[in-house]
Symmetry: C2
Subunit: 325 residues, 2 copies
Amino acid sequence: MKILITGSGGMIGRKLVERLARDKTLGGKAITGLTLVDVVDSPIPEGCPNNSKGIVTDFSERGVATTLISERPDVIFHLAAIVSGDAEANFEKGYKINFNGSRAFFEAVRLESDKSPYKPRFVFASTLAVFGPPFPDPIPDDFALTPTTSYGTQKAMTELMLADYSRKGFLDGVGVRLPTICIRPGKPNKAASSFFSGILREPLAGQEAPLPVGDEVRHWFASPRAAVNFFINAATIDTSSLGPRRSMTMPGVSATVGEQIEALRKAAGNKAVALIKRIDDPFVAKIVQGWAGRYKPDLATRMGFKAEKNFDEIIAIYQEDEMGK
Amino acid sequence: MKILITGSGGMIGRKLVERLARDKTLGGKAITGLTLVDVVDSPIPEGCPNNSKGIVTDFSERGVATTLISERPDVIFHLAAIVSGDAEANFEKGYKINFNGSRAFFEAVRLESDKSPYKPRFVFASTLAVFGPPFPDPIPDDFALTPTTSYGTQKAMTELMLADYSRKGFLDGVGVRLPTICIRPGKPNKAASSFFSGILREPLAGQEAPLPVGDEVRHWFASPRAAVNFFINAATIDTSSLGPRRSMTMPGVSATVGEQIEALRKAAGNKAVALIKRIDDPFVAKIVQGWAGRYKPDLATRMGFKAEKNFDEIIAIYQEDEMGK
Protein backbone atom coordinates (compact mmCIF):
# COMPACT_ATOMS: atom_id res chain seq x y z
CA MET A 1 0.00 0.00 0.00
CA LYS A 2 1.27 3.42 -1.00
CA ILE A 3 0.65 6.41 1.25
CA LEU A 4 0.80 10.13 0.47
CA ILE A 5 1.10 12.62 3.32
CA THR A 6 0.86 16.38 2.91
CA GLY A 7 2.11 18.55 5.73
CA SER A 8 4.55 15.77 6.58
CA GLY A 9 7.08 18.28 7.89
CA GLY A 10 4.71 19.63 10.55
CA MET A 11 4.51 18.53 14.15
CA ILE A 12 1.65 16.05 13.69
CA GLY A 13 2.80 15.08 10.19
CA ARG A 14 6.23 14.03 11.49
CA LYS A 15 4.69 11.99 14.30
CA LEU A 16 2.30 10.31 11.87
CA VAL A 17 5.18 9.39 9.54
CA GLU A 18 7.21 8.01 12.47
CA ARG A 19 4.24 5.92 13.54
CA LEU A 20 3.70 4.52 10.03
CA ALA A 21 7.43 3.75 9.72
CA ARG A 22 7.27 1.91 13.05
CA ASP A 23 4.04 0.04 12.31
CA LYS A 24 5.11 -0.90 8.75
CA THR A 25 1.44 -1.73 8.09
CA LEU A 26 -1.80 0.19 7.93
CA GLY A 27 -5.10 -1.59 8.46
CA GLY A 28 -3.31 -4.93 8.16
CA LYS A 29 -1.66 -4.15 4.81
CA ALA A 30 2.09 -3.73 4.35
CA ILE A 31 3.19 -0.18 3.57
CA THR A 32 5.33 -0.23 0.43
CA GLY A 33 6.06 3.48 0.09
CA LEU A 34 5.55 6.82 1.78
CA THR A 35 5.51 10.06 -0.20
CA LEU A 36 6.06 13.00 2.12
CA VAL A 37 5.04 16.40 0.81
CA ASP A 38 5.61 19.75 2.46
CA VAL A 39 6.94 23.21 1.66
CA VAL A 40 9.77 22.41 4.05
CA ASP A 41 11.97 19.32 4.22
CA SER A 42 10.22 16.28 5.65
CA PRO A 43 12.53 14.07 7.68
CA ILE A 44 12.37 10.43 6.50
CA PRO A 45 12.63 8.43 9.71
CA GLU A 46 14.31 5.05 10.04
CA GLY A 47 12.12 2.13 9.23
CA CYS A 48 10.41 3.74 6.24
CA PRO A 49 10.11 1.42 3.24
CA ASN A 50 12.73 1.91 0.52
CA ASN A 51 10.24 3.44 -1.85
CA SER A 52 9.75 6.43 0.43
CA LYS A 53 10.61 9.94 -0.63
CA GLY A 54 10.25 13.51 0.48
CA ILE A 55 9.09 16.17 -1.97
CA VAL A 56 9.41 19.88 -1.24
CA THR A 57 6.57 21.52 -3.13
CA ASP A 58 3.48 23.69 -2.79
CA PHE A 59 0.57 21.37 -3.55
CA SER A 60 -1.66 24.33 -4.38
CA GLU A 61 0.45 25.20 -7.43
CA ARG A 62 -0.97 24.14 -10.78
CA GLY A 63 -0.37 20.52 -11.69
CA VAL A 64 1.25 19.45 -8.42
CA ALA A 65 -1.77 17.53 -7.07
CA THR A 66 -2.22 15.80 -10.43
CA THR A 67 1.40 14.65 -10.46
CA LEU A 68 1.21 13.40 -6.87
CA ILE A 69 -2.06 11.54 -7.47
CA SER A 70 -0.80 10.00 -10.73
CA GLU A 71 1.18 7.58 -8.52
CA ARG A 72 -2.17 6.33 -7.20
CA PRO A 73 -1.57 6.32 -3.45
CA ASP A 74 -4.00 4.02 -1.63
CA VAL A 75 -4.27 6.39 1.30
CA ILE A 76 -3.88 10.16 1.29
CA PHE A 77 -3.38 12.01 4.55
CA HIS A 78 -4.04 15.66 3.72
CA LEU A 79 -2.69 17.56 6.72
CA ALA A 80 -1.13 20.59 5.04
CA ALA A 81 -2.71 24.02 5.53
CA ILE A 82 -1.79 27.52 6.48
CA VAL A 83 -2.89 28.30 10.01
CA SER A 84 -5.81 30.39 11.15
CA GLY A 85 -3.96 33.65 11.77
CA ASP A 86 -2.14 33.47 8.44
CA ALA A 87 -5.37 32.73 6.55
CA GLU A 88 -7.05 35.65 8.30
CA ALA A 89 -4.25 38.09 7.48
CA ASN A 90 -3.72 36.81 3.91
CA PHE A 91 -7.13 36.28 2.39
CA GLU A 92 -6.08 35.14 -1.10
CA LYS A 93 -3.33 32.88 0.19
CA GLY A 94 -5.74 31.21 2.61
CA TYR A 95 -8.26 30.34 -0.10
CA LYS A 96 -5.50 29.28 -2.48
CA ILE A 97 -3.84 26.84 -0.11
CA ASN A 98 -6.56 25.72 2.26
CA PHE A 99 -9.40 25.52 -0.24
CA ASN A 100 -8.14 25.51 -3.85
CA GLY A 101 -5.28 23.22 -2.87
CA SER A 102 -7.57 20.65 -1.25
CA ARG A 103 -9.96 20.90 -4.18
CA ALA A 104 -7.07 20.26 -6.57
CA PHE A 105 -6.46 16.94 -4.82
CA PHE A 106 -10.13 15.98 -5.05
CA GLU A 107 -10.19 16.84 -8.73
CA ALA A 108 -6.92 15.00 -9.39
CA VAL A 109 -8.39 11.88 -7.77
CA ARG A 110 -11.65 12.20 -9.71
CA LEU A 111 -9.87 12.59 -13.04
CA GLU A 112 -7.48 9.74 -12.21
CA SER A 113 -10.47 7.51 -11.36
CA ASP A 114 -11.95 8.43 -14.75
CA LYS A 115 -9.02 6.64 -16.43
CA SER A 116 -9.44 3.34 -14.59
CA PRO A 117 -10.96 2.35 -11.24
CA TYR A 118 -9.27 4.18 -8.38
CA LYS A 119 -10.83 5.16 -5.05
CA PRO A 120 -8.32 6.04 -2.36
CA ARG A 121 -9.09 6.65 1.27
CA PHE A 122 -8.75 10.43 1.68
CA VAL A 123 -8.13 11.54 5.27
CA PHE A 124 -8.58 15.27 5.70
CA ALA A 125 -7.36 17.24 8.72
CA SER A 126 -10.19 19.59 9.56
CA THR A 127 -10.80 21.83 12.52
CA LEU A 128 -13.31 22.72 15.22
CA ALA A 129 -13.10 26.24 13.78
CA VAL A 130 -15.85 25.11 11.38
CA PHE A 131 -18.04 26.08 14.35
CA GLY A 132 -18.50 29.65 15.51
CA PRO A 133 -20.42 31.34 18.32
CA PRO A 134 -23.13 31.47 19.42
CA PHE A 135 -23.18 27.74 20.06
CA PRO A 136 -24.71 25.31 22.55
CA ASP A 137 -22.65 23.64 25.29
CA PRO A 138 -21.77 20.95 24.36
CA ILE A 139 -21.75 21.29 20.55
CA PRO A 140 -23.45 18.24 19.00
CA ASP A 141 -22.39 16.53 15.76
CA ASP A 142 -25.31 18.00 13.86
CA PHE A 143 -24.64 21.64 14.76
CA ALA A 144 -24.48 24.09 11.88
CA LEU A 145 -21.18 24.96 10.21
CA THR A 146 -20.85 28.59 11.25
CA PRO A 147 -17.18 29.51 10.97
CA THR A 148 -16.17 33.00 12.00
CA THR A 149 -12.73 32.91 10.40
CA SER A 150 -11.60 32.46 6.80
CA TYR A 151 -9.63 29.41 7.95
CA GLY A 152 -12.76 27.80 9.38
CA THR A 153 -14.67 28.71 6.21
CA GLN A 154 -12.05 27.10 3.96
CA LYS A 155 -12.04 23.93 6.05
CA ALA A 156 -15.86 23.79 6.14
CA MET A 157 -16.03 24.18 2.34
CA THR A 158 -13.47 21.41 1.96
CA GLU A 159 -15.50 19.17 4.29
CA LEU A 160 -18.55 19.70 2.06
CA MET A 161 -16.60 18.77 -1.08
CA LEU A 162 -15.06 15.76 0.67
CA ALA A 163 -18.57 14.50 1.44
CA ASP A 164 -19.82 15.13 -2.10
CA TYR A 165 -16.85 13.45 -3.78
CA SER A 166 -17.29 10.51 -1.39
CA ARG A 167 -21.03 10.31 -2.10
CA LYS A 168 -20.32 10.27 -5.83
CA GLY A 169 -17.80 7.44 -5.32
CA PHE A 170 -14.72 9.33 -6.56
CA LEU A 171 -12.91 8.85 -3.26
CA ASP A 172 -13.52 7.52 0.22
CA GLY A 173 -13.22 10.54 2.46
CA VAL A 174 -12.96 10.95 6.22
CA GLY A 175 -12.62 14.38 7.81
CA VAL A 176 -11.02 14.64 11.23
CA ARG A 177 -11.83 17.77 13.24
CA LEU A 178 -8.91 17.97 15.62
CA PRO A 179 -9.16 19.29 19.18
CA THR A 180 -6.46 21.71 20.32
CA ILE A 181 -3.33 19.60 20.49
CA CYS A 182 -1.74 19.65 23.92
CA ILE A 183 1.04 19.44 24.99
CA ARG A 184 2.71 20.64 21.79
CA PRO A 185 6.46 19.98 21.98
CA GLY A 186 8.95 22.69 21.11
CA LYS A 187 8.76 26.42 21.55
CA PRO A 188 5.78 28.74 22.07
CA ASN A 189 4.33 29.96 18.76
CA LYS A 190 2.15 32.87 17.74
CA ALA A 191 -1.12 30.93 17.81
CA ALA A 192 -3.60 32.37 20.28
CA SER A 193 -3.89 28.87 21.73
CA SER A 194 -0.15 28.57 22.36
CA PHE A 195 -0.43 29.19 26.12
CA PHE A 196 -2.56 26.04 26.64
CA SER A 197 0.58 24.00 25.96
CA GLY A 198 3.00 26.58 27.34
CA ILE A 199 1.63 26.63 30.88
CA LEU A 200 2.43 22.92 31.14
CA ARG A 201 5.45 22.47 28.87
CA GLU A 202 7.55 25.32 30.22
CA PRO A 203 7.00 24.58 33.94
CA LEU A 204 7.73 20.87 33.30
CA ALA A 205 11.10 22.09 31.98
CA GLY A 206 11.62 24.42 34.95
CA GLN A 207 10.81 27.56 32.98
CA GLU A 208 8.28 30.35 33.40
CA ALA A 209 5.18 30.52 31.20
CA PRO A 210 2.68 33.35 30.66
CA LEU A 211 -1.06 32.74 31.18
CA PRO A 212 -3.26 35.38 29.50
CA VAL A 213 -6.70 34.05 30.54
CA GLY A 214 -8.55 33.14 33.72
CA ASP A 215 -8.74 29.72 35.41
CA GLU A 216 -12.36 29.29 34.35
CA VAL A 217 -11.62 29.19 30.60
CA ARG A 218 -12.69 25.79 29.25
CA HIS A 219 -11.30 24.20 26.12
CA TRP A 220 -11.16 20.87 24.21
CA PHE A 221 -7.86 19.00 24.04
CA ALA A 222 -6.13 15.88 22.81
CA SER A 223 -2.48 14.82 22.88
CA PRO A 224 -0.31 14.62 19.76
CA ARG A 225 -0.36 10.84 20.23
CA ALA A 226 -4.17 10.86 20.19
CA ALA A 227 -4.09 12.98 17.03
CA VAL A 228 -1.92 10.40 15.27
CA ASN A 229 -4.33 7.69 16.43
CA PHE A 230 -7.22 9.69 15.00
CA PHE A 231 -5.56 9.75 11.59
CA ILE A 232 -4.70 6.05 11.68
CA ASN A 233 -8.26 5.23 12.67
CA ALA A 234 -9.65 7.52 9.97
CA ALA A 235 -7.56 5.63 7.40
CA THR A 236 -8.83 2.22 8.48
CA ILE A 237 -12.47 2.51 9.62
CA ASP A 238 -15.30 0.95 7.65
CA THR A 239 -16.80 4.02 6.02
CA SER A 240 -19.88 2.11 4.86
CA SER A 241 -21.29 2.58 8.36
CA LEU A 242 -20.43 6.27 8.37
CA GLY A 243 -23.29 7.50 6.20
CA PRO A 244 -23.20 10.72 4.24
CA ARG A 245 -21.51 12.75 7.00
CA ARG A 246 -17.85 12.28 6.38
CA SER A 247 -16.32 14.81 8.78
CA MET A 248 -16.39 14.23 12.49
CA THR A 249 -15.63 16.15 15.64
CA MET A 250 -12.93 14.18 17.43
CA PRO A 251 -13.27 13.21 21.08
CA GLY A 252 -11.17 15.17 23.51
CA VAL A 253 -10.62 16.21 27.09
CA SER A 254 -12.81 19.12 28.15
CA ALA A 255 -10.81 20.96 30.78
CA THR A 256 -10.52 24.40 32.30
CA VAL A 257 -7.21 26.17 32.70
CA GLY A 258 -7.67 25.59 36.44
CA GLU A 259 -7.93 21.84 35.84
CA GLN A 260 -4.81 21.95 33.66
CA ILE A 261 -2.97 23.64 36.50
CA GLU A 262 -4.14 21.06 39.06
CA ALA A 263 -2.93 18.26 36.77
CA LEU A 264 0.43 20.02 36.53
CA ARG A 265 0.54 20.26 40.34
CA LYS A 266 -0.07 16.48 40.63
CA ALA A 267 2.63 15.73 38.05
CA ALA A 268 5.33 18.25 39.03
CA GLY A 269 4.36 19.93 42.30
CA ASN A 270 3.75 23.45 43.53
CA LYS A 271 7.15 24.61 42.31
CA ALA A 272 6.11 23.96 38.73
CA VAL A 273 2.75 25.69 39.20
CA ALA A 274 4.53 28.75 40.63
CA LEU A 275 6.26 29.18 37.26
CA ILE A 276 2.92 30.14 35.62
CA LYS A 277 2.82 33.93 35.40
CA ARG A 278 -0.55 35.58 34.98
CA ILE A 279 -0.45 38.35 32.43
CA ASP A 280 -2.98 40.69 30.88
CA ASP A 281 -3.55 40.08 27.17
CA PRO A 282 -7.03 41.29 26.19
CA PHE A 283 -6.34 40.42 22.53
CA VAL A 284 -5.77 36.72 23.23
CA ALA A 285 -8.46 36.70 25.94
CA LYS A 286 -11.01 37.95 23.42
CA ILE A 287 -10.11 35.38 20.76
CA VAL A 288 -10.29 32.56 23.28
CA GLN A 289 -13.76 33.74 24.35
CA GLY A 290 -15.05 32.73 20.91
CA TRP A 291 -13.94 29.12 21.36
CA ALA A 292 -16.08 26.26 22.62
CA GLY A 293 -15.11 24.17 25.62
CA ARG A 294 -17.22 21.11 25.13
CA TYR A 295 -18.38 18.90 22.26
CA LYS A 296 -20.50 15.78 22.02
CA PRO A 297 -18.60 13.69 19.46
CA ASP A 298 -21.06 10.81 19.29
CA LEU A 299 -20.35 9.76 15.72
CA ALA A 300 -16.56 9.66 16.13
CA THR A 301 -16.88 7.80 19.43
CA ARG A 302 -19.11 5.23 17.74
CA MET A 303 -16.51 4.93 14.97
CA GLY A 304 -13.80 4.06 17.50
CA PHE A 305 -11.92 7.36 17.77
CA LYS A 306 -10.40 7.76 21.25
CA ALA A 307 -8.75 10.62 23.12
CA GLU A 308 -7.33 10.81 26.62
CA LYS A 309 -9.64 10.75 29.65
CA ASN A 310 -8.10 13.65 31.57
CA PHE A 311 -5.10 15.98 31.79
CA ASP A 312 -3.12 13.58 33.96
CA GLU A 313 -2.95 11.29 30.92
CA ILE A 314 -2.11 14.16 28.58
CA ILE A 315 0.82 15.21 30.78
CA ALA A 316 2.01 11.61 31.17
CA ILE A 317 2.05 11.19 27.38
CA TYR A 318 4.13 14.33 27.00
CA GLN A 319 6.58 13.09 29.61
CA GLU A 320 6.84 9.71 27.88
CA ASP A 321 7.02 10.91 24.27
CA GLU A 322 9.00 14.15 24.66
CA MET A 323 10.89 13.94 27.96
CA GLY A 324 11.91 10.29 27.81
CA LYS A 325 10.23 9.43 31.10
CA MET B 1 -29.60 52.75 -7.33
CA LYS B 2 -28.37 50.22 -9.87
CA ILE B 3 -29.47 46.61 -9.65
CA LEU B 4 -27.97 43.49 -11.22
CA ILE B 5 -30.07 40.34 -11.49
CA THR B 6 -28.75 36.97 -12.63
CA GLY B 7 -31.25 34.35 -13.66
CA SER B 8 -33.57 37.16 -14.71
CA GLY B 9 -35.09 35.02 -17.44
CA GLY B 10 -36.30 32.35 -15.01
CA MET B 11 -39.74 32.15 -13.44
CA ILE B 12 -38.85 33.90 -10.19
CA GLY B 13 -36.35 36.21 -11.90
CA ARG B 14 -39.00 37.55 -14.28
CA LYS B 15 -41.45 38.12 -11.43
CA LEU B 16 -38.76 39.92 -9.41
CA VAL B 17 -37.94 42.17 -12.37
CA GLU B 18 -41.63 42.95 -12.91
CA ARG B 19 -41.99 43.82 -9.24
CA LEU B 20 -38.95 46.15 -9.30
CA ALA B 21 -40.22 47.80 -12.50
CA ARG B 22 -43.58 48.36 -10.81
CA ASP B 23 -42.16 49.59 -7.49
CA LYS B 24 -39.56 51.87 -9.15
CA THR B 25 -37.81 52.00 -5.76
CA LEU B 26 -36.02 49.54 -3.52
CA GLY B 27 -35.69 50.25 0.19
CA GLY B 28 -36.88 53.82 -0.42
CA LYS B 29 -34.29 54.58 -3.12
CA ALA B 30 -35.14 55.20 -6.76
CA ILE B 31 -34.02 52.46 -9.14
CA THR B 32 -31.96 54.02 -11.94
CA GLY B 33 -31.09 50.90 -13.89
CA LEU B 34 -31.65 47.16 -14.05
CA THR B 35 -29.11 44.84 -15.63
CA LEU B 36 -30.72 41.51 -16.44
CA VAL B 37 -28.38 38.59 -17.00
CA ASP B 38 -29.31 35.13 -18.14
CA VAL B 39 -28.28 32.51 -20.70
CA VAL B 40 -31.66 33.11 -22.33
CA ASP B 41 -33.31 36.39 -23.25
CA SER B 42 -34.69 38.31 -20.28
CA PRO B 43 -37.89 40.20 -21.07
CA ILE B 44 -37.58 43.88 -20.06
CA PRO B 45 -41.05 44.73 -18.74
CA GLU B 46 -42.75 48.10 -19.07
CA GLY B 47 -41.87 50.54 -16.35
CA CYS B 48 -38.19 49.65 -16.17
CA PRO B 49 -35.90 52.69 -16.02
CA ASN B 50 -34.29 53.72 -19.30
CA ASN B 51 -30.90 52.54 -18.21
CA SER B 52 -32.08 48.94 -18.11
CA LYS B 53 -30.63 46.26 -20.32
CA GLY B 54 -30.67 42.54 -20.86
CA ILE B 55 -27.42 40.64 -21.38
CA VAL B 56 -27.35 37.09 -22.66
CA THR B 57 -24.22 35.56 -21.18
CA ASP B 58 -22.90 32.75 -19.01
CA PHE B 59 -21.67 34.46 -15.83
CA SER B 60 -19.43 31.51 -15.04
CA GLU B 61 -17.26 32.21 -18.10
CA ARG B 62 -13.95 33.94 -17.42
CA GLY B 63 -14.19 37.70 -17.03
CA VAL B 64 -17.98 37.97 -17.22
CA ALA B 65 -18.52 38.59 -13.49
CA THR B 66 -15.72 41.18 -13.46
CA THR B 67 -17.30 43.08 -16.36
CA LEU B 68 -20.75 43.01 -14.76
CA ILE B 69 -19.43 44.16 -11.39
CA SER B 70 -17.31 46.93 -12.94
CA GLU B 71 -20.58 48.87 -13.29
CA ARG B 72 -20.84 48.81 -9.49
CA PRO B 73 -24.44 47.71 -8.96
CA ASP B 74 -25.70 48.66 -5.50
CA VAL B 75 -27.71 45.47 -5.18
CA ILE B 76 -26.98 42.11 -6.78
CA PHE B 77 -29.69 39.45 -6.92
CA HIS B 78 -27.86 36.25 -7.75
CA LEU B 79 -30.61 33.81 -8.73
CA ALA B 80 -28.96 31.97 -11.60
CA ALA B 81 -28.04 28.32 -11.16
CA ILE B 82 -28.43 25.00 -12.85
CA VAL B 83 -31.02 22.87 -11.12
CA SER B 84 -30.50 19.91 -8.86
CA GLY B 85 -31.01 17.16 -11.42
CA ASP B 86 -28.71 18.83 -13.94
CA ALA B 87 -25.99 19.38 -11.31
CA GLU B 88 -26.28 15.74 -10.25
CA ALA B 89 -26.01 14.43 -13.81
CA ASN B 90 -23.29 16.88 -14.90
CA PHE B 91 -20.77 17.07 -12.08
CA GLU B 92 -18.28 19.50 -13.64
CA LYS B 93 -20.97 21.79 -15.01
CA GLY B 94 -22.65 22.00 -11.61
CA TYR B 95 -19.48 23.07 -9.83
CA LYS B 96 -18.59 25.46 -12.65
CA ILE B 97 -21.90 27.32 -12.66
CA ASN B 98 -23.30 26.93 -9.16
CA PHE B 99 -20.05 27.27 -7.26
CA ASN B 100 -17.26 28.75 -9.42
CA GLY B 101 -19.70 31.21 -10.97
CA SER B 102 -20.91 32.51 -7.60
CA ARG B 103 -17.33 32.68 -6.38
CA ALA B 104 -16.39 34.70 -9.45
CA PHE B 105 -18.96 37.33 -8.41
CA PHE B 106 -17.63 37.43 -4.86
CA GLU B 107 -14.09 37.84 -6.14
CA ALA B 108 -15.12 40.49 -8.66
CA VAL B 109 -16.76 42.49 -5.87
CA ARG B 110 -13.74 42.09 -3.60
CA LEU B 111 -11.30 43.22 -6.27
CA GLU B 112 -13.58 46.11 -7.26
CA SER B 113 -13.75 47.20 -3.61
CA ASP B 114 -9.94 47.11 -3.55
CA LYS B 115 -9.91 49.98 -6.07
CA SER B 116 -12.19 52.31 -4.09
CA PRO B 117 -14.87 51.79 -1.44
CA TYR B 118 -17.64 49.54 -2.75
CA LYS B 119 -19.84 47.20 -0.72
CA PRO B 120 -23.01 46.07 -2.49
CA ARG B 121 -25.86 44.15 -0.96
CA PHE B 122 -25.48 40.63 -2.37
CA VAL B 123 -28.68 38.58 -2.27
CA PHE B 124 -28.05 34.92 -2.96
CA ALA B 125 -30.75 32.39 -3.85
CA SER B 126 -29.93 29.31 -1.81
CA THR B 127 -31.85 26.15 -1.14
CA LEU B 128 -33.17 23.88 1.57
CA ALA B 129 -31.14 21.17 -0.18
CA VAL B 130 -28.22 22.35 1.99
CA PHE B 131 -29.88 19.99 4.49
CA GLY B 132 -29.96 16.24 4.07
CA PRO B 133 -31.37 13.34 6.05
CA PRO B 134 -31.36 12.22 8.76
CA PHE B 135 -32.76 15.43 10.21
CA PRO B 136 -35.00 16.49 13.08
CA ASP B 137 -38.62 17.62 12.55
CA PRO B 138 -38.72 20.58 12.35
CA ILE B 139 -35.20 21.52 11.14
CA PRO B 140 -33.89 24.43 13.23
CA ASP B 141 -31.75 27.29 11.93
CA ASP B 142 -28.62 25.90 13.54
CA PHE B 143 -28.85 22.43 12.01
CA ALA B 144 -25.74 21.16 10.24
CA LEU B 145 -25.25 21.67 6.51
CA THR B 146 -25.48 18.08 5.32
CA PRO B 147 -26.36 18.18 1.64
CA THR B 148 -26.86 14.86 -0.12
CA THR B 149 -26.71 16.26 -3.65
CA SER B 150 -23.99 18.10 -5.54
CA TYR B 151 -26.43 20.98 -5.99
CA GLY B 152 -26.95 21.29 -2.23
CA THR B 153 -23.18 21.03 -1.71
CA GLN B 154 -22.48 23.84 -4.19
CA LYS B 155 -25.10 26.06 -2.57
CA ALA B 156 -23.80 25.30 0.94
CA MET B 157 -20.23 26.14 -0.11
CA THR B 158 -21.46 29.38 -1.62
CA GLU B 159 -23.33 30.21 1.60
CA LEU B 160 -20.08 29.76 3.53
CA MET B 161 -18.18 32.07 1.19
CA LEU B 162 -21.01 34.63 1.29
CA ALA B 163 -20.70 34.74 5.07
CA ASP B 164 -16.92 35.02 4.99
CA TYR B 165 -16.88 37.81 2.38
CA SER B 166 -19.55 39.61 4.42
CA ARG B 167 -17.59 39.18 7.65
CA LYS B 168 -14.49 40.59 5.96
CA GLY B 169 -16.52 43.59 4.76
CA PHE B 170 -16.10 42.97 1.01
CA LEU B 171 -19.85 42.74 0.50
CA ASP B 172 -23.07 42.68 2.46
CA GLY B 173 -24.52 39.25 1.85
CA VAL B 174 -27.90 37.70 2.55
CA GLY B 175 -28.65 34.11 1.57
CA VAL B 176 -32.26 33.12 1.01
CA ARG B 177 -33.06 29.40 1.30
CA LEU B 178 -36.23 29.09 -0.74
CA PRO B 179 -39.06 26.67 0.06
CA THR B 180 -40.52 24.69 -2.83
CA ILE B 181 -42.32 27.29 -4.91
CA CYS B 182 -45.98 26.47 -5.40
CA ILE B 183 -48.05 26.96 -7.52
CA ARG B 184 -45.52 27.30 -10.34
CA PRO B 185 -47.21 28.70 -13.43
CA GLY B 186 -46.74 27.09 -16.82
CA LYS B 187 -46.20 23.47 -17.73
CA PRO B 188 -45.03 20.49 -15.67
CA ASN B 189 -41.25 20.12 -15.70
CA LYS B 190 -38.86 17.28 -14.98
CA ALA B 191 -38.17 18.27 -11.38
CA ALA B 192 -39.15 15.58 -8.91
CA SER B 193 -41.15 18.26 -7.09
CA SER B 194 -43.16 19.18 -10.19
CA PHE B 195 -46.29 17.31 -9.06
CA PHE B 196 -46.69 19.54 -5.96
CA SER B 197 -47.70 22.36 -8.32
CA GLY B 198 -49.25 20.12 -10.95
CA ILE B 199 -51.93 18.59 -8.72
CA LEU B 200 -53.31 22.09 -8.16
CA ARG B 201 -52.47 23.94 -11.38
CA GLU B 202 -53.82 21.35 -13.82
CA PRO B 203 -57.14 20.70 -12.03
CA LEU B 204 -57.69 24.47 -11.65
CA ALA B 205 -57.46 24.56 -15.46
CA GLY B 206 -59.78 21.58 -15.83
CA GLN B 207 -57.01 19.14 -16.70
CA GLU B 208 -55.82 15.87 -15.21
CA ALA B 209 -52.65 15.73 -13.10
CA PRO B 210 -50.59 12.74 -11.93
CA LEU B 211 -49.83 12.26 -8.21
CA PRO B 212 -46.89 9.90 -7.58
CA VAL B 213 -46.86 9.97 -3.73
CA GLY B 214 -49.25 9.36 -0.86
CA ASP B 215 -51.49 11.88 0.91
CA GLU B 216 -49.31 11.79 4.00
CA VAL B 217 -46.20 13.28 2.30
CA ARG B 218 -45.37 16.59 4.00
CA HIS B 219 -43.41 19.41 2.39
CA TRP B 220 -42.49 23.11 2.79
CA PHE B 221 -44.00 25.64 0.38
CA ALA B 222 -44.25 29.31 -0.52
CA SER B 223 -45.88 31.09 -3.44
CA PRO B 224 -43.91 32.79 -6.24
CA ARG B 225 -45.19 36.09 -4.81
CA ALA B 226 -43.75 35.21 -1.39
CA ALA B 227 -40.43 34.32 -3.05
CA VAL B 228 -40.24 37.76 -4.66
CA ASN B 229 -41.03 39.31 -1.28
CA PHE B 230 -38.21 37.29 0.28
CA PHE B 231 -35.74 38.74 -2.22
CA ILE B 232 -37.00 42.30 -1.75
CA ASN B 233 -36.77 41.90 2.00
CA ALA B 234 -33.28 40.37 1.75
CA ALA B 235 -32.18 43.42 -0.26
CA THR B 236 -33.46 45.91 2.31
CA ILE B 237 -33.07 44.42 5.82
CA ASP B 238 -30.63 45.86 8.31
CA THR B 239 -27.89 43.23 8.21
CA SER B 240 -26.16 44.64 11.27
CA SER B 241 -28.70 42.75 13.38
CA LEU B 242 -28.16 39.56 11.41
CA GLY B 243 -24.88 38.49 12.97
CA PRO B 244 -22.40 36.21 11.28
CA ARG B 245 -25.04 33.83 9.88
CA ARG B 246 -25.95 35.30 6.55
CA SER B 247 -28.07 32.54 5.04
CA MET B 248 -31.53 31.85 6.35
CA THR B 249 -34.21 29.23 5.93
CA MET B 250 -37.27 31.07 4.66
CA PRO B 251 -40.67 30.71 6.30
CA GLY B 252 -43.19 28.58 4.47
CA VAL B 253 -46.37 26.58 4.66
CA SER B 254 -45.86 23.06 5.97
CA ALA B 255 -48.52 20.97 4.33
CA THR B 256 -49.23 17.38 3.36
CA VAL B 257 -50.41 16.39 -0.08
CA GLY B 258 -53.75 15.60 1.59
CA GLU B 259 -53.96 19.18 2.88
CA GLN B 260 -53.13 20.49 -0.59
CA ILE B 261 -55.99 18.44 -1.98
CA GLU B 262 -58.46 19.70 0.62
CA ALA B 263 -57.49 23.30 -0.20
CA LEU B 264 -58.12 22.53 -3.88
CA ARG B 265 -61.53 21.08 -2.96
CA LYS B 266 -62.42 24.32 -1.11
CA ALA B 267 -61.27 26.46 -4.04
CA ALA B 268 -62.56 24.44 -6.98
CA GLY B 269 -64.77 21.63 -5.72
CA ASN B 270 -64.85 17.84 -5.98
CA LYS B 271 -64.76 17.95 -9.75
CA ALA B 272 -61.28 19.50 -9.64
CA VAL B 273 -60.08 16.99 -7.05
CA ALA B 274 -61.33 14.13 -9.24
CA LEU B 275 -58.83 15.22 -11.90
CA ILE B 276 -55.91 14.13 -9.69
CA LYS B 277 -54.80 10.70 -10.89
CA ARG B 278 -52.80 8.54 -8.52
CA ILE B 279 -49.90 6.86 -10.25
CA ASP B 280 -47.03 4.64 -9.18
CA ASP B 281 -43.61 6.28 -9.52
CA PRO B 282 -41.17 4.70 -7.06
CA PHE B 283 -38.33 6.85 -8.44
CA VAL B 284 -40.01 10.15 -7.53
CA ALA B 285 -41.46 8.68 -4.33
CA LYS B 286 -37.95 7.75 -3.16
CA ILE B 287 -36.47 11.19 -3.90
CA VAL B 288 -39.32 12.91 -2.08
CA GLN B 289 -38.74 10.68 0.95
CA GLY B 290 -35.40 12.43 1.48
CA TRP B 291 -37.03 15.85 1.79
CA ALA B 292 -38.02 17.57 5.01
CA GLY B 293 -41.55 18.74 5.65
CA ARG B 294 -41.05 21.23 8.43
CA TYR B 295 -38.53 23.92 9.38
CA LYS B 296 -38.25 26.37 12.25
CA PRO B 297 -37.13 29.56 10.49
CA ASP B 298 -36.73 31.70 13.61
CA LEU B 299 -34.02 33.99 12.28
CA ALA B 300 -35.81 34.82 9.02
CA THR B 301 -39.08 35.37 10.85
CA ARG B 302 -37.33 37.77 13.23
CA MET B 303 -35.87 39.54 10.18
CA GLY B 304 -39.34 40.13 8.73
CA PHE B 305 -39.52 37.43 6.05
CA LYS B 306 -43.12 36.28 5.55
CA ALA B 307 -44.77 33.43 3.65
CA GLU B 308 -48.40 32.41 3.31
CA LYS B 309 -50.27 30.94 6.26
CA ASN B 310 -51.95 28.03 4.47
CA PHE B 311 -52.72 26.51 1.08
CA ASP B 312 -55.93 28.47 0.69
CA GLU B 313 -53.77 31.59 0.42
CA ILE B 314 -51.31 29.91 -1.94
CA ILE B 315 -54.15 28.89 -4.29
CA ALA B 316 -55.76 32.35 -4.09
CA ILE B 317 -52.45 33.99 -5.07
CA TYR B 318 -52.15 31.70 -8.08
CA GLN B 319 -55.69 32.56 -9.14
CA GLU B 320 -54.98 36.29 -8.75
CA ASP B 321 -51.54 36.39 -10.34
CA GLU B 322 -51.87 33.77 -13.07
CA MET B 323 -55.60 33.30 -13.75
CA GLY B 324 -56.69 36.93 -13.53
CA LYS B 325 -59.23 36.26 -10.78
